[in-house]
């Protein structure tokens, strides 16, 4: 089963994302939550897209909306609701959070 990686910090703590990308395998999913969603802003995502090409990228829609950055997002990142977050956890193994 593919792993789910969760990142909840923005480029202020970029090592969370760097370590995540280092440990993620092809076909894994990376979910950006909380301030992690700022990584999905198009020019920010462009900076990591090369290393991110073989993983699936999702962001929590609630967190995107509360930050007012919906129009800035990369099209390569999928917005999901909290219920879909639960589904991702259930359908992936292991679930890995990066701090």
């Amino acid at each position: 089963m593919a792993a789910l990686h969760i990142v909840n910090s923005s480029s202020e703590r970029r090592t969370a994302l760097d370590n995540c990308l280092r440990a993620a395998s092809r076909g894994d999913t990376v979910l950006l939550i909380g301030n992690g969603v700022y990584w999905a802003v198009a020019p920010m995502f462009a900076g990591i897209a090369k290393r991110a090409s073989d993983t699936v990228w999702c962001v929590l829609a609630t967190d995107v909306k509360s930050r007012g950055i919906g129009t800035l997002l990369s099209t390569q990142v999928q917005q999901i609701d909290d219920g879909a977050f639960v589904d991702l956890v259930a359908s992936h193994h292991p679930v890995v959070s990066w701090s």
Partner: protein, 130 residues
Amino acid sequence: MNFAIAIHGDAATSESPRLALRFARAAIAKGHRIHRVFFYHAGVSVANSLVVQPQGEADTAAEWAAFAKEHGVELAVCVAAALRRGVLGQDDATRYERAVANVNPVFQIVGLGQMIEAAISADRFVTFCA
């Protein structure tokens, strides 16, 4: 499925207690169970009953307490992490000669073994980092 949740972020400045609450609500709504919610590191601050939330701001600690009561979910706080951060149960206050206790009684004060137990007996263990 049976989920265990760990929360590492503090109540005042981290979003992780709220992110975890949203996850827990969505999990229950989908028919899953929550084995235990474990507050570790700065997360223990969620159990501090002396916090005064400014008006107009969400009170995530109160929402966690209400959620736990409604769905019978265990909220566990690591005793060692709580002592370091000044969150004391009555037993701790007596043992360490502090005048007062301040833990919200909805939270169980437990040892770290309860986190490992939750992590290995649940189907999925999800950590919400600071």
